[in-house]
Amino acid sequence: MPTDDDASVRSTRGGDATTRGAIEDAFDKCLALESTARDAGYDEGVDAGRAIGEAEGRELGFRKGFELAEEVGYYAGCASAWKACARASGTYGERVERMIETLERECRESKLGDPLDEGILERVERLRGRFKTLVALLGARAVYADADASGLPSF
């Protein structure tokens, strides 16, 4: 025959389904504490990393974009100056004048705007080549000797 003592013992044993569930959840939370904390930390890290990455990326992009545009701008300026010299002296020859014209036009059409455009580097390389060709043709190597912006180490 159930007594009051029996009833209380029954309840602490979690004889009731929801009570048992509640106690199991409580224990689960303790067991999962490490992975929960790690996941939360990971999410925080991803957000922080994204923010810092964006800032660093912007800085790098600015630097690279500046270098590229500076190089093209330099060639455009040289082309402009040479064009004026050619007109003034009249002794440059048809081929040189044509190449100056081409350099000027290609600088204008270099389309540096889209960072995802893989053709940009190729176009800048071609400009670099035309610039060097003109420097050699004009016999002006001493003047433009340090102009090469692509001063990467080579082996």
Binding site: R126, R128, G129, K132, T133, L137, F155
Partner: protein, 263 residues
């Protein structure tokens, strides 16, 4: 094909004496490269000169009057030291080899004001095609008129990966190339120079001081002659004589130049 041998040629090619130097006169100095110039060569038409160097550029110079050369183009594109320029035997088409593991083919643009790379074989820009796995040191075209009457159409390259690659010619006058076959040099050093002779044999000089000749036997390339210790140091350059197809010259880091005769 067996039984061939390469022996040092005893013929005396003489040495320059003081009086002889007066017959050589510097006619023109060409400036453009920014660091060491690694190679130069005349085009088959004789009116063009190609140069290449450590600054990763390839330049084409055009004869301008009797003794002057003016710059036709300064080409960028290689990602490393350009080791060698080699002209096509009949057309003004240029092949260059580089530290960047690629072989590039260059041609003058239709408008005549610039030169462009029309093909990259191997290396990073080679679209995943077959190629060398290390510095490509040299390229040599199969002579168009071989001794056995055949017409050559191919080109051979050699590299730091110990391989020789034969590229098949295609397109106009076989000025375009595609991968044909590759074979091992037989030693574990770099192959620094190769030369395709009119006799059909490919000579190669190596970092192992040897000179080896390779021939096609039943469609497969095989080493047919080996001269170990041909020199006391790296063999930098080997070249078949354009006139006597049994004569080979070799130059080495040991400071000597040797003439060899194939018997």
């Amino acid at each position: 094909m067996g039984g061939e041998d390469l022996v040092g040629d005893e013929e005396d090619f003489g040495t320059r004496d003081a009086g002889e130097t007066e017959r050589w006169r510097r006619t023109c100095a060409i400036e453009g490269h920014e660091s060491e110039v690694k190679s130069c060569g005349w085009s088959p038409s004789g009116s063009l000169l190609a140069t290449c160097g450590r600054d990763r550029t390839v330049w084409v110079w055009e004869a301008h009057g009797e003794e002057e050369f003016e710059c036709a183009a300064a080409m960028h594109g290689h990602g490393g030291d350009v080791k060698r320029v080699t002209w096509h035997p009949t057309e003004d088409v240029l092949v260059t080899t580089s530290y960047d593991e690629s072989v590039k083919i260059w041609r003058e643009d239709a408008d005549g004001d610039d030169w462009s790379c029309v093909r990259t074989l191997g290396g990073e820009d080679g679209n995943g095609g077959e190629g060398h796995a290390s510095t490509v040191w040299c390229a040599s075209f199969e002579p168009r008129a071989l001794d056995d009457g055949r017409v050559g159409t191919r080109c051979v390259t050699c590299g730091g990966d110990g391989k020789l690659i034969v590229w098949n010619g295609k397109g106009f006058c076989n000025t375009d190339l595609e991968f044909g076959t590759s074979f091992e040099c037989g030693h574990d050093r770099a192959v620094l120079s190769c030369s395709w002779g009119r006799n059909g044999l490919v000579a190669a000089g190596g970092g192992d001081n040897s000179i080896r000749l390779y021939g096609e036997v039943d469609g497969t390339w095989r080493e047919v002659v080996k001269v170990e210790n041909a020199h006391d140091d790296d063999v930098n350059h080997v070249e078949w004589s354009p006139h006597d197809s049994s004569l080979l010259v070799s130059a080495s880091d040991d400071g000597t130049v040797t003439i060899w005769r194939l018997s």
